[in-house]
Symmetry: C2
Subunit: 75 residues, 2 copies
């Protein structure tokens, strides 16, 4: 699976856990509502600066965000 898709899935999971709408998360992360959709569906190749805002908007950090089965398959 592409890194885009893995990241999108991870965001979706964490967002649902927080019971946030895409729009609410987009607002916290200061990105466009429609852009968040693109990120979650794996269509977007985000930059680390935007990913940083999204991750913090989700109330977590890089270490925790990537500490997931999806991200340690390839070594």
């Amino acid at each position: 699976m592409s890194i885009n898709k893995k990241i999108g899935k991870r965001i979706l999971t964490l967002r649902k856990a927080q019971k946030l709408s895409q729009e609410a998360l987009a607002h916290k992360a200061d990105v466009d509502r429609t852009y968040m959709t693109g990120v979650e569906t794996g269509k977007r190749n985000v930059t680390v600066r935007v990913l940083d805002r999204i991750i913090h908007g989700l109330g977590t950090n890089f270490a925790t965000f990537f500490n997931d089965k999806e991200f340690d398959d390839e070594k």
Copy 2:
């Protein structure tokens, strides 16, 4: 510190540990040597797709790459 700089420092650390030159790593990651310099010095806001190539060029993965003190300070 900016996320760019943190990532640059982390790459430098892992690259040195592998005793690789920027050029050698750049080759593995399929990016230009001068581009690698820009990333390591924190001047570039890389996309996750490029970061993916660099991380794998370093022989590691996202989970391990971000499993570092630098990345769990803010929560």
